[in-house]
């Protein structure tokens, strides 16, 4: 880094006390992002707390009382409803906002970006002053993009295992609490209609789409089509919550226009940015590989036994890195290099 001349950027991280916000702060520090002043913001509940930024302690400010004037970049890692209110305020004050919540992901004039696939879409960041970063889709795109370019993806089926941390810190604590209760033969406390998370697999419903929980299947499909720039790809996604703390695991069935051999796919993915291809004797898992790592791990590439021109891949990635915070920080890095 050329520290003599380099410009420094005032950054706000909103949701700094949350799982994604915490990861954003540590990635900014790890990657030597040229931040000048960093504002860590959350709700009034967190007022008076501190968060860590590369070994330094930052006081947490209250979003509601915060004035965005002078902030170059505002990274929103808060529930969608909070982003819906906060982002327009940040943009009105002249900040460029990066939305990690999904709130702005389907607005046509807001670019939805995964740097491995469509960094050029960031040229539109000025239209609304907002860039949207998809969640789990960020972690799948580094694998899907080279395949799409080489052979043309026509159909995709996803079986996605979401860790509890995909629903935030509260869900992490809940899994730990439920598990501890069950291991000591205590009853698990559940709200009406709540399904036990511990030692269970819970299919997502479309109803969950409305809340702040895991993204609904239809959102996944829409985001993949948009980032790959191909509205024709047929996509079905089945989403399950598994009793895992960190890391997505995903079964991926891909059908391509052109036939492509698993060995060719291995070659492609071996060179793909952001992808770590493991030898076929290694089975990547959320715990063993994804957790705390930037790369998207691919461990099985084989023919789909049910379909000519079909492939099956097993993909794992950290939901808090490439699946949210890292993609946001990569977007920030391109924004300051090329656009702000």
């Amino acid at each position: 880094m050329n520290s003599v001349q380099a410009r420094r950027y005032a950054v706000a991280v909103i949701g700094a006390t949350g799982m994604v916000g915490e990861a954003v702060l540590s990635l900014l520090a790890e990657r030597d992002f040229p931040a000048g002043k960093i504002h860590a913001l959350a709700s009034a509940r967190s007022f008076g707390e501190d968060v860590d930024y590369g070994g330094r302690s930052l006081p947490v400010g209250d979003l509601a009382a915060f004035d965005f004037a002078g902030v170059d970049l505002a990274i929103f890692a808060v529930p969608p409803a909070v982003a819906a209110e906060g982002i327009p305020r940040a943009v009105a004050a002249g900040s460029v906002a990066i939305d990690l919540s999904g709130q702005f992901a389907d607005e046509a004039d807001v670019p939805l970006v995964v740097p491995e696939a469509n960094p050029e879409a960031l040229a539109d960041c000025g239209r609304r002053g907002v860039v949207a970063s998809p969640g789990i889709v960020s972690a799948l795109i580094p694998v899907l993009k080279p395949l799409h370019a080489a052979a043309g993806i026509v159909r995709l089926r996803l079986g996605l295992c979401q860790p509890v941390s995909a629903a935030g810190r509260g869900a992490v604590e809940k899994l730990a609490r439920q598990t501890a209760a069950l291991l000591s033969a205590q009853p698990v406390e559940l709200a009406p209609d709540e399904i036990q998370a511990a030692f269970n697999v819970v299919p997502a419903t479309l109803a969950e789409a409305a809340g702040d929980g895991p993204p609904p299947a239809s959102r996944l499909a829409q985001d993949i089509r948009r980032v790959l720039g191909d509205a024709q790809i047929a996509i079905d996604a089945s989403v399950m919550r598994v009793p895992v703390f960190f890391g997505y695991s995903c079964q991926v069935w891909v059908e391509t226009r052109e036939p492509i051999e698993p060995v060719t796919v291995s070659k492609l993915l071996g060179q793909a940015p952001g992808v770590a291809l493991l030898s076929s004797s290694i089975r990547p898992t959320a715990v063993g590989h994804a957790s705390g790592r930037d790369e998207v791990f691919v461990g099985t590439i084989r023919r789909d036994q049910a379909q000519a021109c079909g492939l099956y891949l097993w993909v794992v990635a950290d939901n808090l890195r490439k699946g949210s915070a890292l993609n946001g920080v990569q977007i920030a890095e391109i924004l300051i290099k090329d656009y702000i």
Copy 2:
């Protein structure tokens, strides 16, 4: 039951100290199977132990030293290698053997039976004196059979979440041990190449096919084709081990020859033997529904968003009931009614 005239059958349950054997014994008792003498057998390790049979305590005998003479039905719930040695001895002594291990499942002259689909195949039980009962496939067939009959299944993709109990009692104890260690921040003890089971999702490899572990994907496909009596069905299965104690969860993508509406499928499955169809607002799970229950639960029936003539279903079932022991006991019930 007409107790005056009813014949009683001498039954041996081999693997009586295991998870499946224990379930076989409790189902025989629950369902008033007309058993006369019941022999509970296991390895020499278990000699001197007792097992429960409907509230009565049975002493465990040593399979190696056991003489099958006089035994009508021998139900084998042991590792495949043990079935390979024990079943020929039982048959030589005049017993009809039911193999729950998978060892005999691909022998062409051994019927592979799921009573909801192909009970007539039991007519061949005399050829070798052995009937094979598939594992998880028993739990999927009650759902697939009516669909196949109504619309012709041409293609099937399965994403199967296996509980640890699918690999026996040892794996159950291991998950409990690993989970307890992690919750108290202790290190998890793993053998070389062993992957942490707790709080993790582990994809199965073909290599696991060789061992006594979960069935390999290719075996699933083969068994489904055979039980449905249709060698043309294209099948791909992805198998994962999840940190769940009991109960399979399965994502099922089905493509049919004739178009069929989800509402028609609901009607069909609402009347299908062995199937419990839940309203679409209820999400069946291993813990909430499958565990300890005989039925196969279906909770989501929707169109496959990636395919015309495609459906998606979410299915859960107890691996120790319909997924193994119950199917074996149902086979036994037909055998004594019609064939022995």
